[in-house]
Structures are given as C-alpha cells and as structure tokens.
C-alpha cells in the first residue's frame, strides 16, 4: 500500500483507539485529553498557516479568544448557547474567528517571514489589551464564568459525553483540513511555501490564497475557542495572552509542522507535561523546555518525523553493513 494510505490508516486506528480507551481512564485523564483535542484544533489551524503556507504566526490565540469570549458573553448575558443553540454558537464562533482574521489578514499579509511574525504578535496583543480593558463586555481581568455546559438531549456536564462531542469536532476539523490540504487549493499553498515568486509567475494570485487560508485558520481558531470555553468554564485574558500563541506555535513545531496531525501530538505532549506531569514533579518546566530544545535541535520535522528518521537510520545501517538494500527511504 502507498505510504500515504498507511499513514491515514494509522491515524484512524490511533484516533479510534483514543475514542474507545480514554473514557475508561480516570476523570482527570479524560479532562486533559478533552483539552488537548480542543486546543489542537487551534494548533492544526496554525499548521495550515505554518506548515503548508509557510507563514509563522504569533497571534493565533486571538481567534481562540474571539470564539471563547463570544461563547461566554452569549451564555451569561443572553442565555444563549446552552441548549440546542449550542450548535448555533459553534457557527457564530467560527464566523467570528473568520471575520477577525479577515480584518487582521489585510494588515498582516502585507508582511512576510519575521515581519509577519511581529505583526501577528502585535495584533494578538491588541486583542489581549481589548479583553483586559473592555470591562463591561469581557469582564476585564475577572473573566467570564460559564456555570453550566450546554444541555441538548444530552448533558455535556458529563465528562465522557463532552469528551465525545469535542472528539467529534476534532475529527471533523481534521478531516476538513486534510481535504483542504489535498485539494488543488491546498497544493498551491505548498507551492507558495516553497517558492512564492514562481507561483506568482505562474499566474497564481498568491495574496488571495494566503488571505483565504488565513481566514480559514481564523475560523477554526474560533471553533477551538468555543470548545475551550466549555472545557474550563472560565474565559479570561489569559486565553489570549502572548504565551498562548507561543504555545500553539511550539506545539505545531514539536509535533511536526506540515503534518496536521503533528498538531495534536504536540498539543498532547505539552499539555500532558504541563497538566499531568506537574501533579507529579515540580521541575516539569525543565522537562518541557528540554523537550522543546531537543526536538528543535535534533528532530527538525518534529515528533512526527520519528518514523521517517528511523527508516533512514535503518537504511543507513543496511548500507553500512554492506548488504544490498533496495528499500528507498519512504516518501
């Protein structure tokens, strides 16, 4: 079977295993995995920008913020989103994220590479400032408290049910993004990442491509925010602070940029170290920092590149031992 097919099967198998096994673990593990899945939608949306279009953004938390605050404000002020209209809020969160990205994209996409990094940082910080200052709307630094999870036939207060709902959103997001990447649109994004000038010469409107993927990433960021608001039950400026955007970027690279699924692996590693390991040892920060540094140094493709590296290493071993080896390093 083609390596691509194998990868898909492995991913599907792992996801199925997660869906089946996790609900039988402890409630804390269920909670953390739910958080991983919700946050990884944001990380995967960042990967669309970073891994596939070559745009490293330090402001993606802003879109999570839009989705999260929208959810919280609608729930507490207008009693909206806690019943069947939860699904409406999902859509509104995605639209909110997309709209903000549409506005920010106009400014940000004028820059490239490191300047793009800077401008997205600045825009993200503006959102943080707004969340902090606009007390009447956002509750300022007190944040907004969501007392209940939605109930529509099923009560999402049940951690297992909520896990399944978030898992569902995650799986669908992954599917949509994967389809996008494999589409002609997605392929031209990769072309832009590789050599934008050539794409322009070939007649592609590269700016429009970048703008569209920026908006799509924003939409998924908003979705992530809606789910994130319900996992913790509190939305505050902490959700849109700079370190949240940095986290997302680091998770994407840790898992492996350009792989989509690397996002959830990166998110899983980081959140487990931060939220689970921290209950066991108090020097977990060094573990996290160490993992970042080692992966960046020795695994340029992130954790997802380990199978590839192993294959190469084994192939090199085979050659070194002199035996004829017709296995090509898998593509």
């Amino acid at each position: 079977m083609a390596p691509e097919r194998i990868k898909i099967l492995v991913v599907v198998a792992v996801l199925a295993a997660v869906a089946l096994i996790i609900p039988h673990t402890t409630s804390v593990v269920i909670l953390i995995v739910t958080r991983v899945l919700a946050f990884s939608i944001l990380v995967m949306s960042l990967d669309l920008l970073l891994g596939f279009t070559g745009l490293a953004s330090l402001g993606q938390a802003a879109y999570l913020g839009v989705g999260a605050y929208l959810t919280a404000i609608l729930a507490t002020r207008y009693q909206m989103g806690l019943g069947y209209d939860f699904w409406l809020v999902i859509v509104l969160g995605m639209i909110g994220g997309a709209l903000l990205a549409a506005v920010f994209g106009l400014l940000a996409l004028r820059a490239t590479s490191v300047y793009f990094l800077m401008i997205t940082l600045a825009l993200g910080q503006c959102v943080w400032g707004l969340a902090y200052r606009w007390n009447s709307l956002t509750g300022g630094d007190n944040g907004i408290n969501l007392q209940h999870r939605p109930k529509f036939g099923i009560d999402l207060a049940d951690p297992v049910l909520f896990f399944y709902v978030v898992f569902g959103f995650f799986a669908v997001s992954l599917l949509i993004m994967y389809t996008l990447i494999r589409s002609p649109f997605g392929r031209s994004l990769t072309g832009i990442r590789e050599r934008e000038l050539r794409m322009k010469i070939l007649g592609y409107n590269t700016w429009l491509h970048k703008y569209l993927v920026f908006i799509i990433a924003g939409a998924f960021g908003g979705l992530s925010g809606v789910l994130w608001a319900h996992t913790a039950g509190i939305v505050s400026p902490d959700n849109v602070v700079l370190t949240t955007s940095v986290d997302a970027l680091l998770m994407a690279v840790l898992g492996g940029s350009g792989t989509l699924i690397g996002g959830v692996i990166g998110a899983g590693v980081v959140l487990f170290i931060r939220e689970y390991l921290s209950t066991l040892v108090h020097w977990w920060q060094y573990v996290l920092g160490g993992v970042y540094v080692l992966v960046i140094l020795y695994l340029p493709g992130g954790l997802m590149s380990i199978p590839e590296r192993l294959r190469q290493w084994r192939a090199a071993q085979g050659e070194a031992s002199g035996s004829p080896n017709f296995v090509t390093a898998g593509r």
């Binding site: 096994i21 996790i22 039988h24 673990t25 402890t26 409630s27 804390v28 593990v29 909670l31 953390i32 958080r35 902090y132 200052r133 007390n135 300022g140 630094d141 007190n142 944040g143 408290n145 007392q147 207060a157 994130w228 996992t231 913790a232 039950g233 509190i234 505050s236 902490d238 959700n239 487990f272 931060r274 939220e275 921290s278 209950t279 066991l280 040892v281 108090h282 977990w284 920060q285």
Partner: protein, 421 residues
C-alpha cells in the same frame, strides 16, 4: 519540602494510565485521614505568592504534626501556574482522584471565579484563602453554597481607610490605582467611605497592571490634592513610591492594602517611611500570638510573613478548630461549612469570625511604615507599624448588608467621580 506532605511520587507510564481502570480512592465516610488540596501557583510569575501561601499553610501543619484532633492531615499541593483553567483541571483532579474533602487556595480573581463553580458542581468545600474579588461573597454567593472565604474582600480594608483619611483632615485626594478589577474595588471602597465622610476624590488615574515607569502619570497628578491614594500590585509597589518621591512630590501617600504589604516591604527603600496603608494584617501587630507567628515564620523561611502566609496559616488553624469540634470526624461538606461559619479564632491577625455571607469579620489595621527594631531583632528595618485598629470590620463596613448589596459592585465608574477636576 516538609516530609508530612504527600506528593504522588510514583510515575505511572502514560500507557498504563490510559489502560487503567477508574481509580478508586478511600471511602470518605469512615477514614482517619483528612485530605486537603492546596491549589497555588508554584511556577510562573506568581510563584512567590504561591510559595508564601504554601509556607503559611505548611507551617501550621508542622506545628501540629499534621494531625488535627487525632486525624492525620494529608495535604496535596497542585500547581495552578497562575492559569484559571489549569486551576480547574487541578481542582477536578484533587476532588475526583485524590478525593480531597477540602480545597484551599486560588490567588487571582479569575481563579476564584473558576474554582467556585467547581466546588458547587462537585459539592466539595472550597476555601479561598487569598482571592479578594468582592462579589464572590456578595451578589454571587448564592451560586456557591460550598464556598467560604477566610481572607478578605478587596474593598474591606479600604472602607475604614477612607474614613480614617477623612478624620485625619485630608479633603481632596488624587487616586492612582492599577487598572483592573482589584484596583477598582479597592479604590471604590476608599472613595465611598471617604466621600461619605466629606472628602473628595478629585482624580482617578489608572496605570495598566505591570506598569513600571510611572513617568507619564506622575506629572498629571493634580496639584491641589492633599494626598495621593495609591493601589499598587506586585513590582509596581516598589517603583511607584520611589518615582513619586524622586519627582519632588512631598505630600503623603495613602496606600491601599497590598501597596505596602510585607510581600514587598522588605524590598523597598527608605523613601516609603511615613507612608500609610490599611490591611487585615501587619507583621508588626504587637500581640504575643503575632510575635510568635512572625518569629517562627522568619526563622523557617527567611522572610517576614505577608498576608498571603498569614491567611493560609489561619485557614489551617480554622480547619483544625472545626475538626476539634467534630472529634476528628469528617461529617460532610455541609456540616463542615456550618461549623466553620460559626467559628471564632484568635489568629495572628487578631480575632476572626465569618459573617453570614461567609467572609471574614476581622480587624483592619491602619499602618504606617517606620524604620524601627521590633520583636527583638537587632537591626532597624521597615515595618508596617499599626497606628489605629478598627475592630470587627465586615465586608459591608457600616452600610448594612442590604443597602450595600443594592449598589453595583465597585468598578471603574462606580462610585462615579463627582468631584473629578
């Protein structure tokens, strides 16, 4: 760390964690152990606050050999890293996996607002030993039947301070307070009491949290103010008085609570001598109970205790006192809270009891910074010497609960700045 704290040292591999069955902890009813979950920031920018909190609690545990009325106390510390959603995750872990009977902690207002609903959902006692957000024990209290506060509300010490300032003869005060809810509630309390007594707040300046350079703000302070009310937090507490004095400003500073708390005072310079503030605690309280507390704490941890430490020490003491009443038995969350609310203790900060909204009724001390020798220490140091004590101050001051709750929570615009020039 003290040996009588149990932390999970086993490191179950992730695979095992995924495949293991649901953890079953000891049944809560017939156990001779009391499990207390302590949630505080151990890492991150609030780590020192977390350290102070935990040290206070731990000191009481060590003094009682971790035994409250014959029952062994197992304290489990979880790092909230200053993030409210992580505090929620840790709280759930403590409640659902470690089966703690009580959760203590939380620092920021967001953590308080995040943990309180968890306590309601899980029917577990949550004692906030630091979080000062006013509304948690005011208009929002009915949402949180398992929530008790042993610390304070932001406005609580500022009401008597406002009255005191007026009695001292200050007529016009310019206020500068950190631009966030704690700042609004602190200044709000001061303004209400000060203006009700006849004073006038003529200016409100709101530097963003984290401001270090007050250069833009200091020259705008109105010249006809008799004094400046300042509410500074964290590193701001060190820089503001220094920069204000260097700019040639000689009028008095009236500080809100944390502006001169012992968390910052030892690191300040002599420019703060004479500055006044108000809080429910001062390390300079001249009672035998406090002197013992301060000396023990300092000997153990190398610095004078701040209100973070005292509050957690007293919380441990209060839990112990309730356990003494029940003969060491855990009778359930509701029974515990009923007994806790009826308690009166002699804490290092003085007599403390809880009002009917589960917030402390306690002394508020008006304190002035002096360089002096106290408690037998051989060097003159900066201390918040008490100049006046207002006994049994409630979160509602003299306004009465119903009248107070009718007004909106203190915010940037409430009380309105009627006399602002």
């Amino acid at each position: 760390m003290a040996s009588n704290l149990v932390k999970r040292l086993c490191l179950p591999p992730l695979a095992a964690g995924l495949l293991s069955a649901v953890y079953v902890g000891p049944a809560a009813a017939q156990q001779q152990e009391l499990h207390i979950g302590l949630i505080a920031p151990v890492t991150g920018i609030f780590a020192q606050v977390g350290a102070d909190m935990l040290n206070g609690f731990k000191m009481y545990l060590e003094q009682t050999n971790s035994t409250f009325a014959g029952t062994k106390v197992v304290a489990i510390i979880e790092d909230s890293q200053g993030k409210p959603d992580l505090a929620v995750t840790k709280a759930k872990k403590l409640i659902l996996e470690d089966h703690v009977e009580i959760i203590v902690g939380g620092v920021l207002a967001t953590e308080g607002y995040a943990l309180a609903p968890v306590s309601t959902a899980e029917k577990t006692v949550y004692i906030s030993s630091v979080t000062a957000a006013d509304d948690l024990t005011q208009r929002q209290l009915n949402n949180f039947p398992y929530f008790v506060r042993t610390s304070w509300t932001s406005s609580q010490p500022n009401h008597p301070l406002g009255q005191w300032a007026c009695e001292q003869g200050f007529k016009k005060v310019a206020a500068i307070a950190a631009d966030y809810a704690f700042g609004y509630e602190s200044l709000g309390g001061f303004q209400k009491a000060f203006e009700d007594c006849g004073g006038k707040i003529i200016q409100k300046i709101w530097p963003p949290i984290g401001t270090k350079d007050f250069g833009p703000y200091i020259p705008t302070i109105k010249a006809d103010a008799d004094a400046v009310y300042s509410l500074m937090v964290g590193p701001m507490t060190l820089q503001f008085p220094k920069q204000l004095r260097q700019s040639g400003y000689t009028k008095p500073i009236i500080g809100g609570s944390v502006s001169y708390d012992e968390a910052s005072l030892p690191f300040m310079g002599d420019e703060v001598i004479g500055d006044v503030s108000a809080e429910q605690y001062s390390a300079a309280i001249q009672t035998p109970a406090n002197e013992t507390f301060v000396k023990n704490y300092r000997a153990k941890y190398g610095k004078v205790p701040s209100y973070f430490s005292e509050s957690n020490y007293t919380t441990a003491m209060m839990i112990d006192d309730v356990m003494k009443e029940t003969g060491g038995k855990w009778l359930g969350s509701e029974a515990f809270i009923a007994k806790l609310v009826a308690l009166k203790v002699d804490a290092p900060r003085g007599p403390v009891s809880l009002d009917d909204m589960r917030n402390p009724l306690q002394n508020i001390y008006i304190k002035k910074v002096e360089k002096t020798k106290l408690f037998g220490y051989d060097k003159p140091e900066l201390w918040d010497v008490v100049v006046k004590t207002y006994p049994a101050v409630s979160q509602f001051w003299t306004y009465g609960k119903d009248a107070f709750l009718k007004q909106p929570v203190y915010s940037r615009d409430f009380p309105p700045c009627k006399y602002c020039e």
